[in-house]
Symmetry: C2
Subunit: 300 residues, 2 copies
DNA sequence: AAAATGTTTTTTCCCGATAAAAGACATTAC
DNA sequence: GTAATGTCTTTTATCGGGAAAAAACATTTT
């Protein structure tokens, strides 16, 4: 069947949400930018919306006829890209019991299990290899290095090196740089979250990523910025599988962020260094505490 | 035609070189380890060697009948893997005139031009993307970021951070660590090369890589070790295309390495830091001087 | 019985083909 | 004449298939 139309389905769902807000939809190119897809896809969406009686469509006129109902939406699982499906599936296996370091990874088996072609699995593994959790043997299989204590330590070592440098660069940015406004906005969001932490603690993860990415960007170094993808990936799955003490942890982290933000705003390199180190130390602790002691790399 | 048999051809050529040294070949598994291929490939090689009268093969007996002649070898170009072919082709384009930052990369066009399937090109681009020279637009084309001055500066910034840390870790390694013997051997090779630099200066590049990889390995951090792949790739092509002052440059570098090695052996952190910084500074200078001033990133 | 050889099965690598999605060009509307 | 819509072309994402290479299993040799 060659290619799924998840881009269309996902954009369709997002477009449905727009219907509530207006009486008529904007032009095709405008919708394209709004949804992040091409006009070709926009027109497929409009066609279906016309067919199902959601809108009346005549050239420039796209009048909303009725509100979107739950059954208008495509099922969530049909809106994921193949890469996302494979990644989730693979990470589930990786973090599950029995995924010991040294184990070999079979493309064909993975493909069959997930129900996709081998090409997609191969491409995924190549993309995934930069995270340092798997390694390719030339002309042969992939080897799992495992989500071990060693991995976490190596990851955090680089993270600390990069973030300290980025934070220093951030504090040295000129007064008129746009980042200070971004930082202010993030500070407000942090304060809101802090005041409602009891109910919204699970929203921290997303805020955390945006905050650290803003800081890393100040390095103006693509390798530092790109490395945050590795951290984000690990923390994403780490949080999904380890909900222990989540509220408590996030509450502490929000306060550390606020102190970190205050230090950045002071533009005092010493204070920045202290606040940054403190937060990174507790982030490392959190990650390490989630890795079972027994999970050690096998001797080669 | 699905898959070329370059693994076989390359291993065959390497096996031919073994014929000069012995009267008879070892067992199949032994040959496999020696050549880094499976027994299946070893047997194909032996079959052909028998057919062309190079050896007499009867079960365990593989007697060499005659020396290898030039015409026994497969042509060099048939021994390269597809990935190597694509990489070379792509790098030629990238470093050629007219490869401006912002330019878009077309998988289909690349595949046609090189004469390979799109899958191989896609896989290459994904693998190559970690070098920070190209970037993917979701559901769309790749964008060339270009081999610019900014790229070189970002690359060397990380390199310096990583190498200083690795060198410090190296110097702190215990007396009985095996690396000291490795270092001694590299020192000898450096002295040999230094004494014959007039004729052998082009051998420096390979020695350089081995030396720096040894140091990086002392970090015991996979991200640091893996990052050297980026540096090695850049320097590899950089040297291929920029032969200006090569002898002079390498002569200086060899001396810097010798000073660096002496500093490591002294195990004095201060001395190591000084020697390392000095060498990295001139390496950066060399790389930067090879990038035309005009080659700037285009505004977005 | 350990290690080789002989044989069979499985997996990797790579191509060509096809639907989805993007992009380019032509035409119409304001 | 600019910006939209309508139409056509190109490119990307993905699959299935087939040869090369690896790996597993069976048999023989020492």
């Amino acid at each position: 069947m060659s290619k799924s139309n998840n881009v269309y389905k996902d954009a369709f769902n997002r477009c449905l949400r727009l219907l509530d807000e207006t009486k008529s939809l904007p032009s095709e190119p405008e919708l394209g930018t709004l949804l992040g897809v091409s006009r070709t896809t926009v027109r497929s969406i409009l066609s279906r919306m016309e067919e199902t009686g959601l809108i009346a469509w005549n050239k420039r006129n796209k009048t909303v006829l009725r509100a979107a109902r739950p059954e208008d939406y495509f099922p969530e699982e049909e809106t994921d890209s193949l890469a996302e499906i494979i990644e989730r599936s693979f990470m589930r296996r990786l973090l599950a019991e029995g995924a010991e370091a040294g184990m070999q990874i079979n493309e064909l088996e993975l493909a069959r299990e997930i129900g996709v072609g081998t090409t997609s699995v191969r491409e995924f593994l190549i993309r995934f290899s930069r995270f340092g959790l798997i390694e390719k043997r030339r002309n042969s299989h992939w080897v799992l290095k495992g989500f071990t204590r060693a991995f976490a330590l190596e990851l955090t070592e680089i993270r600390e090196m990069f973030e300290l440098r980025s934070a220093a660069a951030f504090a040295a940015l000129p007064e008129d740089s746009a980042v200070w406004a971004d930082l202010d906005r993030l500070e407000v969001e942090h304060r809101h979250l802090a005041s409602e932490i009891a109910t919204r603690f699970n929203e921290f993860s997303e805020l955390d990523e945006r905050f650290h990415r803003l800081i890393h960007r100040a390095s103006h170094n693509r390798f530092i910025v790109d490395f945050y993808d590795v951290i984000a990936m690990i923390f994403h799955y780490h949080y999904q599988w380890n909900k222990a003490e989540e509220r408590q942890r996030n509450e502490v982290a929000v306060q550390e962020h606020l102190a970190y933000i205050a230090a950045l705003k002071s533009r005092d390199p010493g204070k920045v260094d202290v606040a940054c180190r403190k937060h990174l130390k507790s982030a490392r602790q959190t990650l390490l505490s989630s890795i079972p002691e027994g999970r050690q790399a096998q001797p080669a």
